[in-house]
Symmetry: C2
């Protein structure tokens, strides 16, 4: 994507935010009504996330009632909690009304127990059972993503019969592009797309024309794997089956798009030790507490690096130039290592890289590190020589830089593999651990060689 | 998403990679054939990306001919170039055959001129014109994403007539869930979903039942905005129109999913100065050259930080403990700043944050930085005091840490806004510039105060 396109992307939402904040400052809130009525719930949700916490309920008050449910679904977890806390039970009950089953299940988890009970009581037997079935699966599994509103047909009827049946129903659930073919016992047999239904000879039987190429997704398949399947097969909707191959629901691509986006966000945020569900305007104390943990871990590792430097106090007091050049060693090692680390984290997540081909990648990264280590080691060495007029100092920092690049490549490849083996998400703590390693190796080499050659 | 789910995700592809590499080492390539025949093109593409460069053509030789086109589309730009270079014109020509128009347009851009000419010559007039129309728009615009295989109907006919027309056609393009209603002059008027067509009374006219709520996407709308529209409206397909509101094509959600994934990858990779289209196994010289640029820029900024340290040589040679503690100041500033920076980069990209609400965010980040600065400043101060037995040293590093956190917050909010105003992608160079600022501020404060209080 070009940069221009990226910048363009948020122009509309930026203009909306701008307008919103002007109105918020003027205090003439009613002016927002037309705007909020013209937005789609997802856009309203984004806008609410961009409103400072103290003014959020004010803006919510102007959101059309019909959008309540969808907006609550689209805002991130923290903003949702804030809104739910501020709302009366009957408003929440009305918001829950009319949501699709999978969405309702997501929302119910966050609603107060009293409201959940009322929602369940207000439903008929069939819908309650459906909802309970969705609720019984983790939100990040096929069962949690699915809707139970499948339209099913039998294999032994003609397309004409199917057509008449649909006309009787008079309407289909949203996002229905295909019907599901099931046996008398509810076993999933295949799909019959509406596109086939309307183009093929009405005399033909369903069993002749159904598409059996898409297997049912097991109800406990992880959401990320569901997303991969949809992408690989370019699916719009897919059947969900239980252990006995009985059709229990369907997943549509709009739910999968959310999974794909959330995964990407998760990587970006974890690499900085943040949570993707965090409210940008979270209360200061809460934000501070959360980030304090990350800073604390980092502080601990920084002390380790300082300990290494501390071993060379005598050298540093003699050759102060070493202290001056220390930041360069640390910085170059960190950057080199984090490039390798990023390639590994992405490759592992996408399935391009696994233990089996990591060795080839390792040698490649090693070679790249050597070439760049030598290149920039030479540059740094010459600059240090000119700066401090000491050729040995130039040799020391140049050599340290070369070996630190190599160490960074080794750690960049090895660390994520190790973390994966231990069951830790490499994106989460990778950077902090990696820079600790490059700092310790870099300082140790640089000051160690300095002690040997310069004292 | 839970970590377990993330780890699970690539188990299948990991097992495949494992098997592939065992076979590659055994040299009995023919064993791969069943595997490659069972995979979908997107999975094969991923596998090829995970094969070392030297063995890639070998594996390609076993990919079923029918998958050639789709696999070429799914691999990243660099792997595609490698494959195309290694293939004969007639293989490429066969691969291009049977692709959808938008996909063909993407592929043609990378094919040698001779092949492109042959592809164009082999098409009939209508298809050639369609292809040329897709080719005339940038790949990252609605026009570049669209397919021209729309199925159109007139508003003044009955649903029954439409049904008969479809039955005559006998088949619909892939991913057709809706028909487009156009005027006699080709103006886009609305959509008629197959779901409506099959459920409503056949006597009714198209104009009565068509859905006019989805506006046509302008042909030059940026891809990222198209993706946003699809997500906001939960669309499966959408019409693309020219300046005169004439229908020129349609975009389906499978193309949009690719855009969403590419955007997320782009952010992750740019933050480490990498390109998302890079081959993991790119030739060493090429990788080294690319990354050298990033390391070079970082080296320059690291020298700036070293210059600042250099100003305090006299102090450092007297109070060597300052040199020992320097890494802590740099590290904590970098981490604090990069948390704020990540929130800003993500918020700007999503449209949560704009200039209008940045001020509120700024004060929040400032408050968080102060709280965490004081917390960890105290801890560091006490530890430094215990370590070196010098209370003034503890005060100096504690104070430096507090102000460096504040500086990091200011830079973390201000820098991305500034870069955006200048038209630079904040993800691209943000981290390097930010850590330069936190290093310079941190070292300057720490050593400056050290000079005043400890000499």
């Amino acid at each position: 994507m070009t940069e221009a396109a990226q910048l363009d992307e948020s122009t509309a939402s930026e203009a909306r935010l701008q307008y919103l904040h002007e109105v918020l400052e003027s205090g003439r809130m009613r002016r927002l009504k037309p705007l909020l009525h013209s937005l789609h719930p997802a856009e309203t949700a984004l806008l609410l996330e961009g409103v400072p916490r103290t003014k959020r309920m004010l803006v919510w008050g102007l959101v059309p009632d019909d959008d309540h449910g969808e907006v609550l679904l689209h805002v991130n977890d923290e903003v949702r909690s804030q809104l739910i806390e501020g709302l009366d039970d009957d408003v929440l009950l009305a918001a829950a009304d009319g949501l699709e089953m999978d969405d309702l299940a997501d929302l119910l988890e966050d609603l107060p127990e009293t409201v959940t009970q009322q929602v369940l009581r207000s439903m008929d037997q069939q819908n309650r059972e459906r909802l309970e079935s969705v609720l019984s699966y983790p939100a990040d599994s096929a069962g949690g993503l699915m809707n139970t509103d499948t339209v099913t047909v039998r294999p032994d009827v003609s397309l004409d019969v199917v057509a008449r049946y649909l006309r009787q129903r008079a309407q289909l659930p949203d996002q229905t592009d295909t019907l599901f073919v099931v046996s008398r016992y509810g076993r999933y047999l295949g799909m019959l797309s509406l596109a086939r239904l309307v183009t093929l000879d009405p005399e033909r039987d369903v069993s002749e024309v159904m598409d059996t190429s898409v297997e049912g997704l097991l109800v406990d398949m992880p959401a990320s794997q569901v997303a991969k399947r949809f992408q690989d097969l370019d699916l719009i909707s897919a059947p969900v089956v239980d252990d006995n191959e009985r059709l229990v629901g369907r997943i549509t691509i709009d739910d999968v798009v959310d999974v794909i986006r959330d995964e990407a966000e998760h990587s970006i945020m974890s690499m900085a030790g943040l949570d993707e569900e965090e409210d940008v305007f979270a209360p200061i104390a809460r934000s501070a507490r959360r980030r304090a943990v990350w800073l604390g871990i980092n502080l601990f590792t920084a002390f380790l690096a300082a300990q290494v430097v501390g071993l060379f106090e005598a050298t540093l007091s003699e050759v102060v130039a070493l202290a001056v050049l220390m930041p360069i060693v640390a910085s170059m090692g960190g950057i080199g290592g984090s490039q390798t680390l990023t390639i590994m984290i992405r490759g592992l997540a996408m399935g391009q890289i696994a233990f089996s081909n990591a060795r080839t990648l390792f040698f490649k990264e090693l070679a790249v590190a050597m070439i760049n280590g030598v290149t920039w080691g030479l540059v740094v060495g010459v600059v240090a020589y000119i700066w401090f007029g000491n050729i040995t100092l130039g040799v020391v920092i140049g050599t340290a830089l070369i070996f630190n690049q190599i160490g960074a490549a080794v750690a960049g490849v090895g660390l994520p593999l190790l973390m994966r083996k231990m069951g830790i998400d490499p994106a989460l703590a990778g950077t902090v651990v990696l820079t600790t390693i490059t700092d310790i190796v870099g300082f140790g080499l640089f000051l160690g060689m300095g002690t040997l050659l310069l004292l």
